[in-house]
């Protein structure tokens, strides 16, 4: 599979202006929040593993905008953006990364384990492929309960080699469950390039072999991501069973904070950065007359303020007392 980036997304954006700006702002919210996280990691405020989504924001943003409020989302350890846009308040995400009890998982999960029952955001799973069976189960429950509810499951292309992927998609297809499999193909699983991980690198072809609808979209283009997710949701909700979407994207940063990036060329990264989802979308909106530099700076500073508030909230949070260590453990 070629790792070369194709031409950057361009052309007019087919959404109303305020919608477009909302998409832009949400991408920025993820970006700025994570840039801050990287900084805080350096300052040892955030610890453990931290996997940044920087470069891939169009995917979660497009997809979340296509989902309904009552839909379920299951994601991975690279899930800050998904959590945020599914409705988990940024301050509770930030508090979680700090390990404070005001965090969305009471501080116990950290970066890889964001949860929010209210937002129907179900993790945050550090086992690659671990969320897939779970998502199938959510969809089964929705079907059995007669609920009009999609379950969207995000996972990386690396997870597709796991047995969990195979078993889960087969089960969902057999039982015609309302689940959307959203594969974030960023070409690498840690240091393993997709061509060393998948014998069939055309992932939609692979997924289609389960007898389900499957297609790929440009994961650097928030418009394409939105359209793809919307189409998937529509098809799934029509009752025909699961749909698979490959979002072709790229991770700009290291896999986690411990990654010397020996496995890819700087030039490749630079090439992909030219397709960065935020600046290309910004350029398109400007070209279209939907956005001025001033308005952009205004949005960006609103986002910066939200990030500052989130950090302040996290800073001000409390540590869970040691006495509560085994609270919520069933059958300890």
């Amino acid at each position: 599979m070629s790792h070369a980036a194709s031409a950057p997304p361009s052309g007019p954006v087919p959404f109303a202006r305020e919608n477009s700006l909302k998409l832009l702002k949400d991408m920025l919210r993820i970006r700025r929040m994570e840039e801050k996280c990287a900084e805080l990691y350096g300052a040892a405020k955030i610890r453990g593993f931290l996997h940044l989504y920087i470069g891939e924001e169009a995917v979660a943003t497009g997809a979340m905008h296509a989902l309904a409020r009552g839909d379920n989302v299951v994601a991975t350890y690279r899930e800050h953006g998904h959590a945020l846009l599914k409705g988990v308040p940024m301050e509770r995400i930030m508090a979680e990364m700090f390990g404070k009890k005001e965090g969305c998982s009471r501080g116990r999960g950290g970066s890889m384990h964001l949860f929010d029952a209210h937002a129907r955001f179900y993790g945050g799973n550090a086992i690659v492929g671990g969320g897939l069976p779970l998502a199938v189960g959510f969809a089964l429950a929705a079907k059995l309960r007669g609920e009009e509810r999609l379950t969207a499951c995000f996972f990386g292309e690396g997870a597709m080699a796991e047995g969990a992927f195979h078993e889960s998609v087969n089960l969902a297809a057999l039982w015609k469950l309302p689940v959307a499999f959203f594969c974030e193909n960023n070409l690498y699983a840690m240091g393993t390039a997709i061509e060393r991980s998948e014998s069939q690198t055309d992932l939609a072809v692979k997924a289609a072999s389960y007898g389900i609808e499957a297609f790929a979209v440009d994961g650097m283009d928030v418009v394409a991501c939105y359209e793809g997710a919307r189409r998937a949701r529509e098809r799934v909700m029509a009752g025909g069973g699961p749909v698979f979407v490959e979002f072709r994207t790229y991770r700009f940063r290291a896999h986690s904070m411990f990654d010397p990036e020996l496995y890819r060329e700087k030039a490749e990264v630079e090439e992909w950065k030219k397709r960065g989802p935020i600046h290309t979308f910004t350029a398109r909106l400007k070209e279209q007359g939907h956005l001025t530099e001033e308005r952009f700076l205004d949005i960006d500073s609103q986002v910066a303020a939200e990030v500052e508030r989130a950090v302040a909230f996290a800073e001000a949070g409390d540590w869970e007392p040691v006495e509560d260590l085994t609270k919520d453990v069933y059958a300890p």
């Binding site: 379920n72 998982s105 779970l134 047995g163 057999l174 059958a331």
Partner: protein, 321 residues
């Protein structure tokens, strides 16, 4: 009413399905085949294919789906055909079902029951004769129960479903044909039970080894040693109060475990007795476990590899020498 252990399990399942529309049963061959051990026989016909759901061979996915369905508002009963196959979905059980409630800060419960057949004794050889109850009992966040009686075979499932958290129910094919009275007393899943009163030695057992312990106790009685038999019933969390009360009375104990000796649940019982009743002991606690060997197919070797009443008798007798 006299029924078999198998029929008691079946009735427990039937009542669970009839009693709550959120309950459904899923697993390999639970429906059209009638259940590998006929435990779910007739339930497909009664409750239909949505609620008695045949799953393909994909243990990881359907156990994980059970967890997801539990989170999504259902009360799934997942059957993993036998404990031998439960290593395949173990990651989902350990890394999701057991962890989720704590790791989410208490936001989620996982009202899930996983049933599986366990144990050796039917000449099924090494890959089909495991006893991993002890492994599961290691994991905080799971409750583990092991019905050894007709009442428990019938009642533990309902008690498990009432818990709103993941409970694993181990079923013992070695006991499926045993018959007895089904009482109408409800069972808890919190306590061990004294199955035979005695004074001179405590025999602790669970699941398929309970009848062996009782049979050993009869033999010991003939030798003038009056043994008390404690059925653990709940393997996690352990009801040590019942065990310790008995040991403090008898001052001697033999722990019986169908798992391999090293690192079996029996070791934990011994360790806790050491920690909590050391000064009450008149002799070191003894163990009768599976020999450290993959279970061989021939009957004489399988029998030699497993706990037997004679070995329990010998171990108990040894405490008086």
């Amino acid at each position: 009413m006299t029924i078999t252990y198998r029929e008691a399990l079946r009735q427990g399942l039937r009542e669970a399905l009839a009693g709550d529309p959120r309950v459904f049963l899923v697993g390999e061959d639970v429906g059209r085949y009638g259940g590998t051990y006929a435990v779910s026989k007739g339930l497909l016909e009664e409750f239909g294919p949505e609620r008695v759901r045949d799953a393909p061979l994909s243990e990881l996915a359907f156990v994980g789906a059970g967890i997801g369905a539990a989170l999504g508002g259902m009360k799934p009963i997942v059957e993993v055909m036998t404990v031998n196959f439960s290593l395949l979905p173990l990651d989902q059980i350990v890394n999701t079902a057991a962890i989720l409630r704590h790791m989410s800060g208490g936001q989620f419960a996982v009202p899930l029951v996983i049933r599986m057949a366990t144990g050796a004794g039917r000449q099924l050889a090494a890959q089909h004769s495991h006893s991993f109850e002890g492994w599961y009992a290691h994991v905080p966040g799971l409750k583990i129960v092991a019905p050894a009686t007709i009442d428990d075979a019938h009642g533990m499932l309902g008690a498990a479903l009432a818990e709103d958290n993941p409970v694993l129910v181990f079923e013992y094919p070695a006991l499926f044909e045993t018959a007895g009275d089904l009482s109408s007393t409800p069972v808890d899943i919190a306590h061990a039970a004294v199955r035979r009163q005695g004074t001179r030695v405590t025999i602790v057992a669970y699941g398929g080894c309970v009848p062996k312990a009782l049979s050993a106790a009869e033999k010991l009685a003939a030798e003038g040693i009056n043994a008390e038999v404690v059925d653990l019933r709940v393997l996690r969390p352990l009801d040590m109060d019942t065990v310790l009360a008995s040991v403090r009375k008898t001052r001697r104990a033999v722990i019986v475990d169908e798992g391999w000796r090293s690192g079996s649940l029996s070791a934990e019982i011994v360790a806790r007795i050491m920690e909590q009743a050391f000064y009450d002991l008149d002799a070191p606690v003894a163990r009768v476990c599976r020999e450290e060997v993959p279970i061989p197919y021939p009957k004489h070797l399988e029998e030699a590899a497993l706990p037997q009443p004679e070995k329990i008798v010998a171990a108990a007798r040894g405490l008086f020498q």
